[in-house]
Symmetry: C2
Subunit: 351 residues, 2 copies
DNA sequence: ATGAAAGCGCTAACAC
DNA sequence: GTGTTAGCGCTTTCAT
């Protein structure tokens, strides 16, 4: 039992930081070399059963927890995936991040989270710190980024996945769907119901480029298909139920004989629904309402809400798949680096 | 200029990993030693203006990004805060995490996220990996954890903040409010409106201990104050609008003359509201409805929802404050390590 | 104010 | 299968 003595020279005369248990301590207790412990930790099958037993015992008696920081430094790539979304308060991104986190955690990857708040400079700063972690991958939202952000990412050589949007050219990989097409789908649906005086209600579209693209797709399809009128109305603040009420009122003022609205978000649609109820406007008889997102309440509100489901879950899964494939060696090239998760129009009572 | 020759021995004959720009490269370009660069990065004022200029120039021409992994290893504590919540899909936690992330990012700290999905074993695993990052702090949700989790955390010496609950004894620090008191507030409010046949509608209370405590507090207050009846009804699945509809129907069956309900979550309350509307039960005349959370829609739904606001934002701010105070040296002791953020009952039309 | 030197705890060749 | 040997890129005394 020479453990005690050898432990002593681990105590320097100066700094004393609670002396974390290291791999070396485990190695000593188990009577093997540190590299064997390291090997055991990464591929248990590669060490002899006997040594494995000893190591396992040592680990548990010492309560050893591997230091991933040191591991990341030595391996020159940390087990971290950095995810940058505009806001985690947004149910869409919360869903994707949640799924992504679970999928990646199952493979031993950690998620580092950042919020850009829809700002490109903020995003750039986040990307900079993200790269400082030598991450296994970085995940960004959308395809619009500052030139510097793209440069940083490209120069880093780190796998990059842009999510929630396709249709431009990605830095590296992309998983998502086309926002103009979502807008067009909504327009076609409303038009097919015989509606002709349309409005698109959106929030924060000066910053949220994806919402703006949905609005454009909607307006263009409305115009293209013929004799419908279409107004796009923006609320500069966040997409909330409250904003939905305000927007509906503005639409009512600006669009004569308004008979249908599409919203950039189900929260806005819900607010519009409430406002219609308050004003005694029958939905869908007088005004048809379509949303986007298929949120929690959309199936159960009154009337139930026709909406477009983007599948944040699926996006999360596909992003995870791409990242894990990259880590496990398979480097997909060509079209498999862009995945279209599509969108589904869910017709309910509100139209 | 002997820079060239010394650069050569950085290129080993074997692995070649895209040769990241290091602090040493910066030092060479700026004609100073690496430690001066390091110093400059941490306290720019401590190096001479001349050297500072050179270093800054070198950094920007090389596009140097410091490696935080290496820094964390050398400094024996990484600039990471690990946050573990039951689910980020839950608007409560999304709000707190969002605030926390912003506050910490402003001080150069990264947030690592984990989801326990309300499972203690899952939480334990997450805590284990969290500690593997030698984090500056770890943030947990609630006060219920496995014994092993507590032990791990205590042994690690890392600052721990438990949030969204107080009233037990925390591992280290706690920021939140008392859930039984929230339940009691709801009960008192309903009682004060003359209601006597009460029900508490909750979801996932077998796992969500905090919701269960709100239910208990509600039931006890109802009984304590006298001649009211109270039934607690649980939906095993997640707290959704859909669940709210189901729960209201069960309450209607189980409680004769039901005249008021309190819900463990505004989503459930919203579902109940919709179901009342569907069944033609006037709210609040026939049934009063109170929620918890003050979510986005609560002020604008019909009728607007009386609810209890827990202030996830404030919790996030206070947690950040505690963590930053710890890092900056000030070690608060005693009662200042437990912060009660309280709760506010927001009375609206539904009661 | 600046630099030299000694690690932080681990991984990954490579030899045995 | 196991141990030896070098680092990974940075921080931090301690001298100068």
């Amino acid at each position: 039992m020479d453990v005690g003595s050898s432990l002593q020279n681990r105590v320097p005369r100066k700094r004393r930081k609670m002396q974390r248990v290291t791999m070396m301590d485990v190695a000593k207790l188990a009577q093997v070399s540190p590299s064997t412990v390291s090997l055991y930790l990464r591929k248990p099958a590669a060490v002899s059963p006997a040594a494995g037993q000893e190591i396992a015992r040592a680990i548990s008696t010492l309560g050893y927890v591997p230091n991933l920081v040191a591991g990341g430094l030595a391996a020159a790539s940390s087990k971290v995936v950095s995810i940058i979304v505009p806001s985690i308060r947004n149910a869409f991104f919360a869903e994707t991040v949640s799924t992504l986190q679970s999928e990646l955690a199952a493979e031993g990857l950690q998620v580092i989270l950042g919020h850009s708040e829809y700002g490109e400079e903020q995003e750039e700063a986040l990307v900079r710190t993200a790269l400082a972690w030598a991450p296994a991958a970085v995940v960004l939202t959308g395809l619009s980024h500052s030139a510097e952000t793209r440069k940083l990412l490209q120069a880093s050589g780190v796998p990059v996945v842009e999510m929630w949007e396709i249709g431009g050219n990605p830095i590296d990989m992309a998983v998502g769907f086309s926002h103009p097409q979502v807008g067009a789908s909504a327009a076609r649906h409303l038009l097919s119901k015989g509606r002709r005086s349309l409005a698109f209600l959106g929030a924060r579209m000066q910053e949220d480029h994806r919402a703006a693209k949905r609005a454009n797709g909607f307006a263009e399809e409305a115009k293209r298909t013929g004799h419908a009128t279409c107004e796009v109305i923006n609320h500069p603040g966040a997409a909330t139920v409250e904003a939905g009420s305000l927007l509906l009122n503005r639409a009512l003022q600006q669009v004569p004989n308004l008979d249908a609205i599409a919203c950039s978000n189900d929260l806005i649609a819900l607010g519009a629904l409430f406002e219609c109820q308050r004003q005694g406007l029958a939905v869908p008889d007088k005004i048809a309402v379509a949303g986007f997102g298929d949120l929690d309440f959309s199936a159960s509100c009154i009337p139930s809400l026709t909406t477009i489901r983007p599948s944040g879950d699926l996006i999360g899964k596909e992003v995870a798949r791409l990242i894990l494939a990259g880590i496990h060696g398979a480097q997909p090239t060509g079209p498999s680096r862009i995945i279209d998760t599509g969108h589904v129009l869910v017709e309910r009572r509100s139209t």
